[in-house]
Structure formats: structure tokens, C-alpha cells
Amino acid sequence: MARVNNWQLGREMSYWYPESRPDKQFAAVFDINKCIACQTCTLACKTTWTSGKGQEYMLWNNVETKPYGFYPLGWDLKLLEMLDGQKWDQSGEKPVYGGSTIFESAPAGERVLGWRPEEEDYAYPNVGEDDCAGQIDGGTSFQMPHMAWFYYLARICNHCTYPACLAACPRGSIYKRPEDGIVLVDQGRCRGYQECVRGCPYKKVFFNPMSGTSEKCIACYPKMEQGLQPQCFVNCIGKIRMAGWISKPEEAREDNPIDYLVHVRKIALPLFPQFGLEPNVYYIPPIHVPTSFTRQMFGPGVDDAIAAYKKAMSEGDDDLAGLLGLFGSTEEVMSRWTRNGETITGFNDKGEEAVRVPLREPVNIRPAYDKLYQITRVNCP
């Protein structure tokens, strides 16, 4: 194994191949606080890519209710049980992961520590939907964080910097594109060994029994190549998603939307960084959930991320609040943004203006009684 740098762990780690970062890395930020689990993203993906034979059960994009929702069943719990330690050393300037990654924990004869879901584990795509973490009794009033909670976790392939699917494939059928970091299964080369299914801790590679090959999210690369965000992003009703490009921390640019959220303000965090894949989908953690839970899922930065996110609105953090307003505002990929007073502007890969949004949406309050039509209306905020 080679030694590579994983900035999410704050240290080097072992990986099957030497470090080879792409020219640009596809990345995304999902704001969990805005997701309503309408599954429009799931259907947008399904109808675009997985409507064929053998793809019936596949959800390259899914939204599950945490803590009791999974697709496939127990995808995260199973590996968390297998992975020892998972302690973070927070005594220094930056947190350093002190446990072992799935590459460092690979048992004899294996390339990564992994497991394969059983067929039945795919049978309940929305198990645990809206199930609360605790009982809500009569007379209960909610405080923050909620004592009984759930939240929606939208998931796609993380197009990891160190993909476990790629490391696990014994015949090199999975590759990471040097031009954008998107991870793909070569459908001409794959022989359906399902080693990638076993290796991916997020269980985002699916075996197609009709084609005999494994298939996965392709980050809608034909769209990304045209500077357009993937289908699950642009169809998102809650406008929770933003796709773009992420830099290494030492090369982060404040005017790059993804860099700003991940590296500068650190409010968007990776999913299970302790697995060691350096995943490139980042989540703004839910603010109402006890951080004892979300810290395991998003790493040690959760408390600071929530604090910064809350301040964006309550204390007039106009840059952060403004950038969050660009989510879901355009189909184009924004590689640069600016705020000029009350106006936030997003620019595409060519440097052209893609969209302009106000810092605050104008609010109009109508009188309840409409004199013109002589009727009374109910105002909904």
C-alpha cells in the first residue's frame, strides 16, 4: 500500500494506490436542514439513468430518515461495528483521526475492510421513514437540540478522493477521471465480481443482475461536462444542493462556493470521514439533532459548523447567508461567487454571470381583507 495525505483525517494514511489528485475535483454541499425527503431527487435520477432491466432496485440517489432509515439496510451501522476505535485527537490545532480507516483495517486476503449487503437488504428502500429517535409524550415541548429527533439524509456517490470501490476492484475496472474526479465503472471492462459493492462503505455501487456488471452514480457527467449541475441537484425542490469544484485545503479560494463552505467557514462536513475515503459530498449538519450522534457521522467539526450556520441568519453573517441563497438558483455549475451589498452573484466555469439573487427575499404582507375583491384571505408565510 502507498502512503497518501487525507486532509479530512488530518494525517497520512495507507491506500492501495499512490496519491493522484485530479485536475479538478467534483464536489457538492447538501444542506440537511432544508431537506424534506420529497424524493424528487431520487426520481430525477431514477428516470434519467436507472430505468433499465436489472436496475429496478437501484437508487443511485436516495434519501433516508436517520437514525432508523437505511438503503441498503444497515449500510452504515454494519461497518461502524466492524471498524475499531474511531477516536479523534483534538488536542492540537486541527483534529487528527487516531483510529484506523477501512484501508488500514483490511483483513488478511482483502484489499479493504468491507461487507456485502444481502439481497433482502435492498428490499426496503425507505425503512424507518419519519421514525423518531425517541418517544414523544403528550405535553412535550421541544428545545434545541431536540430530545426526540430525526432528519433526512440525501445520499449519492461521494466521488471520493480515495475510492474504496476503485481500490477493491482486482481488475482495474473502476477509474477516477483526471479531468473532474468523477468515479466511474468501466462498463466494457467490469466482470461483475461485486468486489466494489463489498468495498464501498456507502454502498453506492450496485450489481446489475441483467447486465452482469456493477453500476453507480456517474455525477451526471454528460451534464457536468457542459457546465450543468446533475439531475438530482437541479430537480431538488428544497434547493438543498450545490455542485461545484473543491480545492485542497491549502489551495482553497474564498470566492469558490464549495471551498468557502467546506474550507473557509467549515460548515459543510464529509460523511463518515473516519472511513478514510476523503468523500467529496459535504453536509451542513442538522441543527436540531444531538451532536453526540452527528459527530460520529460527520466528524469532530459538527459543533462549530452548527454554531456558524445558526449565526449566518441570527447575527447577520451576510456572506454565508448570501451564499446559501445561491443553492438551487441555477442549473449552471458555479465555480465563483461574490457578494456586493445585498446582491449575490454566481459565475460559471467560463467566468460568465450565471445567476444573481438578493441577500434577502422581499417579503410582502397583504392585508387580510382585500378591498378590491372584497374578500378575506388567509396569509401563509
Binding site: 430505468s51 429496478e56 432496485y57 486476503g109 444481502e118 439481497e119 482486482p170 466494457g188 441483467m210
Partner: protein, 286 residues
């Protein structure tokens, strides 16, 4: 009276089979392809019982990751014949279950025959060959056999109770245009569109490949054929391929075998295999 007659016939067949089994000769150290035979792809053909068989011991693939950590199939029984142009190998091994339905976490029974591409003194590494020392592999799979035997190319063949709301290529608007329908279907089947031999309907349960080391399998021109049947104890498979160039009664080559048990989740590199075994040609009765 009818029952008595049937019983007599069954007994006669059983006695004949037992007699044939007793008369089979074992070739303990080499695979013998008997010359001058009429090639058959029928694993149950009587001709096989008159030919010497080699009990090839299988060992774990434990050289490259992912490895097989626990041994499964212990032995594959190999019988061979040739007509001077092609050579047929009959492989038989014990396997309790029939695994020919692909799916998530479901794997397929299979076997393979491997020969060096060139007859050289220095043979390639037995583990799939090595750089510039190519091996030829003929690979049989139980799911391909099921397809050749008539399994329909529909999800209901794998999951009989499956219910599909809609396939875009089955839209009413496309029904009058099979070409457009086929093109639409391939949009959702990239492996088929790319001609991946793992994928889709097929006419042969055997695939020809070349390799120059682990992880280098490449499809090559289809020259082999075969047929496999489930026996009460396991599988019996015949793989027929061209006779290796340069082989003769005077000069043999090497051969290796591999077996996968789907129920043991064996796939790809997770397999039981042999090292090189001498392959010789021998005239009948000699």
C-alpha cells in the same frame, strides 16, 4: 408386469454404469487427451467412461488480493479427448447447490481451463500467466448455460414475482419500431451497448479470454464451446477448444483448471485452482 420390466431396465443400466466406472482408468499425474475420437459436448455421453481421467487437486487462490481464505472444492475430475483439430475436456466436481441465478451477493458456479498460448520450455506463471507470457482461458458459467438452455432475458427469470411499473423502451410509442425500441433499451444497458461479453443473451456458455497475469483478463475471439449439466453430486461440464498449436503425441504441453462455487461466494480471484498439469496426447489403448 410393466413395473417389473422398468425395474429390470434400470438395474441393467445401473450395472452397466457401475461396470464402466470400475473399468475407468486413472491417470494420476497428467491429463491424457485420447486421440482419434469423435468430439462430443455431451457430459453424459458414454464415450467419456472409457477414457482415462485425471483427479486434479485444487488449491486456494491465495497469491493476490482478494484471496480465497477457506478451501472449498477439493478436486476436479478431468477427462479429455481430441479429434486432431479440437480438444474436449470434461470437468466434473462436487457441488451441493446449483447457483446459476445472478444477483446482489449471489454468485455463479463455474469452471475454467487454462493453457499457455505458446508451447515453450519456460511456462508462464500458472496464476493467469505473466507479462509477455500469455495464457488462453476458456471459461464456463452456469448462468450462461441457463441462458443458452432457454432462460428468458427478463427480470422475472431471476425474480419470478418481480413487478415492473414501466420500462421506457416498452412505451406504446415505440412498439411499432423494434429498432428504436432496441436502441432505447441499450441506453439503460451500457455494458450491452459496449459489447461486454459478460452481459446479455448469448449462444455459448463458454467465453474465450487471454491473460498476462492477475487482473488482466481480456476477451478474445470466440473459438470455444461447451455444455454443462447439473449432476446429483455437482456439475459435469465439457469445454471444447482448438487443439494447442504444436502439440502432438510426442510433445505435450501444460494445462490448469479453476472452479468456482457460487454458494461459497466465490467469484473472480476468489477461486480454487490447480497449478500446471502436464497435458499429453495418447492414442487409444496405449
Amino acid at each position: 408386469m410393466k413395473t417389473l420390466f422398468k425395474l429390470t431396465v434400470v438395474c441393467m443400466i445401473a450395472v452397466a454404469v457401475l461396470a464402466a466406472c470400475r473399468s475407468r482408468t486413472i491417470s494420476p499425474s497428467e491429463v491424457v487427451a485420447v486421440t482419434g475420437q469423435t468430439i462430443t459436448d455431451d457430459p453424459a455421453a458414454g464415450v467419456w467412461w472409457g477414457l482415462p481421467y485425471h483427479p486434479a487437486k485444487l488449491i486456494l487462490q491465495d497469491l493476490v488480493e482478494p484471496r480465497l481464505m477457506e478451501p472449498s472444492t477439493q478436486e476436479v475430475e478431468v477427462t479429455a479427448m481430441t479429434d486432431g483439430k479440437t480438444v474436449a475436456f470434461r470437468l466434473e466436481w462436487i457441488d451441493d447447490s446449483q447457483d446459476d441465478l445472478p444477483g446482489p451477493q449471489k454468485f455463479i458456479d463455474g469452471c475454467a481451463v487454462q493453457l499457455p498460448q505458446k508451447m515453450e520450455t519456460n511456462v508462464p506463471a500458472p496464476q493467469m500467466g505473466e507479462d509477455a507470457k500469455t495464457v488462453e482461458i476458456a471459461y464456463w458459467r452456469a448462468d450462461w448455460q441457463a441462458i443458452v438452455d432457454g432462460r428468458v432475458d427478463e427480470i422475472t427469470s431471476l425474480y419470478p414475482n418481480a413487478s415492473v411499473d414501466h420500462y421506457p423502451f416498452r412505451a406504446e410509442s415505440l412498439k411499432k419500431d423494434p429498432k428504436a425500441q432496441g436502441e432505447m433499451e441499450q441506453r439503460y444497458a451500457p455494458a450491452r451497448r459496449l459489447g461486454n461479453s459478460r452481459s446479455g443473451p448469448r449462444k455459448q456458455p463458454v467465453e474465450d479470454m487471454l491473460a498476462e497475469g492477475p487482473g488482466t483478463l481480456t476477451r478474445t475471439n470466440a473459438v470455444s464451446r461447451g455444455r454443462g449439466v447439473k449432476t446429483p453430486k455437482g456439475w459435469a461440464v465439457v469445454i471444447i477448444r482448438p487443439l494447442p498449436e504444436g502439440i502432438s503425441v510426442q510433445k505435450g504441453t501444460n494445462i490448469a483448471f479453476a472452479v468456482w462455487q457460487g454458494a461459497r461466494r466465490e467469484t473472480g480471484a476468489r477461486k480454487m485452482r490447480t497449478g500446471w498439469i502436464p497435458l499429453i496426447l495418447k492414442e487409444p489403448g496405449k
